[in-house]
Amino acid sequence: MTDVLRVEDLRVYYRTAAGPVKAVDGVSFALQPAERLGLVGESGSGKSTIALGLLRMIKPPGRIEGGAVMLDNVDLLRLGEDAMRKTRLAKISLVAQGAMNSLNPVKRIKTQFAAGLRDHEQRMSDKDFTVYLGDLLEKVGLRRSVANMFPHELSGGMKQRVCIAMAISLQPRVIIADEPTSALDVVVQWQVIDTLRAVQQELGAAVIQIGHDMGLMAHSVDRVGVMYAGKLVELATVGDLFAEPLHPYTKMLITSLPSLTTKQQLVGIPGSPPSLLNPPIGCPFHPRCPFAMEVCTRQMPPVRELRPNHQVACHLYEEAS
């Protein structure tokens, strides 16, 4: 099958007085139609910057320094501003972090949907629009009457579903969901992820789900990419990643998850996340890595596909391959 999205060597830097901050530093991955890819990482690992980068919504002092974002074989990074504006929402859409707070509090839900359609020159009669919006809302498990409501009349979970409905309103090829449930209660979180999965499957759209909760990833995506200090350090199917994590960071991330079945000593990852302004030389994880070798302090390990569909960037596997 051909990839719907191919990201090649994406680099996004923020220019500061103290030097460039490499928020995303040479990230590559591909996405097949209807596939769900998770990107996990700690705060500052660059996962949200990837989302904004793919949509070309990086604001100064940030800048896309290089790479390619091929959506259906068109490089989004080379599109004109106007063509890019038309691509957003229509072909690649975003459910932003805390999206539920992005709704305009003084406008009815239907007015906010109409604005999106107008910007994309989708003309339809009022009657058609009502039917169309009602169908969209039902798709995400909301009543049709929500169209006439104001955001404050909705709960957090309902608002998040409105945002998902908005993101699928023009049937995009790729939906990017940035921490779609991070502000929601755990029960509502399940409902929202369930909704996202249902609409994504019906639409056949690919999803990039960004988050920090490994538990949530285990149940909502097909493949997981692990980000650390702006780099994609491991990428595998969700089953392989949990059964046999290769990168020491991934291993520690998984063992640091507390469980509900056995009481155990809580283990964290020692040390602190790296400063991106002044990242460690070599592998950015080496100061926290229990397996660090001399070479790790000198050289960033290349990404290797150690086995089919399982790639890792770690010197521990240099000889094995």
Binding site: D185, M214, H219, F242, S256, S259, T261, K263, V267, P270
Partner: protein, 344 residues
């Protein structure tokens, strides 16, 4: 024996002001006593709107109950004066959710540690002050030389939150009320903060009240747990019992909604509740009713006639659900005694 801090049949009602139509009962008839002698770790778990923040504010004396009392060593908290108030401010410490907002960005982090030392006259000299600060930082696993003399923005969220724990420790309190202390901290750093709280409990005998929405960390660090739903206790008891064999449908829903970090495990969400009798939508008829009835597939007519009392289903567990109505009823103020049964 007088409890260190005790909530006695506390109810807090908001609203019913000039502009708002209805009242909101944020917390209903809640009782809990924390002993000063026997160190404990109690988790209070609930989603948004469950009343956890209201409870914290009441326990810290930042809000007064509408009815009932909050007592510090037997005296009403809101009327404490003089030495009693100083003693409360020293014995009961709080750690809040946001490690970014509690720091004044213009001061070095030393400032938040120096203030309590000055206010309570803990150090006679600069050297003594420095030593106190250093030992408090070491107690929470921070290296003083990497922490002191820095500004808040130079430290990570995890480090900042541990400084807040160190600040609380300085005063040698008897109780730390930790309100969502790790919810804004990265997963890899949560363990260190929770472990430092546990160490304080074990080594210094400080009781911990851990307020959270995260059932998993609550299970890991606490001895007993209180699950709140819309201002009322849904279930409380030994943490293993409540989390692994929940009695209340709400607790079951909460547990079932947590995605286990294992793709092979089931993530059931609402499906965990199963199908109930399929009774028609129940309309509350009595003056009080079970707050969960509208989401519960097992709701029965009695659930909307009167709010369920606490049923003692096990020696160390109570559940406010008529599904457990064969068990003996206990008064809310008995809950503390039942929770105490979980401790050696």
């Amino acid at each position: 024996m007088t409890a260190l801090l005790e909530a006695r049949n506390v109810t807090k009602v908001f609203g019913a002001g000039l502009l708002s139509a209805g009242e909101t009962v944020a917390l209903r008839d809640f009782s809990l006593a924390i002993s000063g002698e026997q160190p404990s770790v109690t988790a209070i778990v609930g989603e948004s709107g469950s009343g956890k923040t209201t409870l914290v504010r009441l326990l810290l004396g930042l809000a007064a109950p509408t009815s009932g009392q909050v007592l510090f060593r037997g005296k009403e908290l809101t009327t404490l004066t003089g030495d009693d108030r100083r003693r409360f401010l020293k014995d009961v410490q709080a750690i809040f959710q946001d490690p970014f907002e509690v720091f004044n960005p213009f001061y070095k982090v030393d400032h938040v540690l120096a203030l309590p030392i000055e206010n309570f006259g803990l150090a006679a000299s600069k050297r003594e002050r420095r030593e106190l600060m250093e030992s408090a930082l070491s107690a929470v696993g921070l290296r003083p030389e990497e922490t002191l003399g820095r500004y808040p923005h130079q430290l990570s969220g995890g480090q900042r939150q541990r400084i807040m724990v160190a600040r609380a420790v300085l005063l040698r309190p008897r109780l730390i009320i930790a309100d969502e202390p790790v919810s804004m901290v990265d997963a890899s750093l949560r363990a260190t903060i929770l472990n430092s709280l546990l160490t304080l409990n074990r080594d210094l005998g400080i009781s911990i009240v851990y307020i959270t929405h995260d059932l998993t960390t609550a299970f890991q660090i606490s001895e007993d747990i209180i699950v709140l739903y819309r201002g009322a206790v849904a279930e409380a008891g030994a943490v293993g019992l409540v989390v692994q064999t929940p009695e209340h449908p709400y607790t079951r829903l909460l547990v079932g909604s947590i995605p286990a970090p294992d793709p092979a495990a089931a993530w059931q969400g609402e499906r965990v509740l199963g199908r109930g009798s399929g009774a028609a939508r129940l309309i509350p008829t009595g003056p009080s009713f079970c707050a969960f009835h509208d989401r519960c597939p097992h709701a029965m007519p009695i659930c909307v006639e009167q709010a369920p009392p606490l049923f003692q289903t096990d020696p160390t567990r109570v559940a406010a659900c008529y599904l457990a109505r064969d068990s003996p009823v206990v008064a809310p103020e008995q809950m503390t005694r039942i929770l105490a049964g979980t401790r050696p």
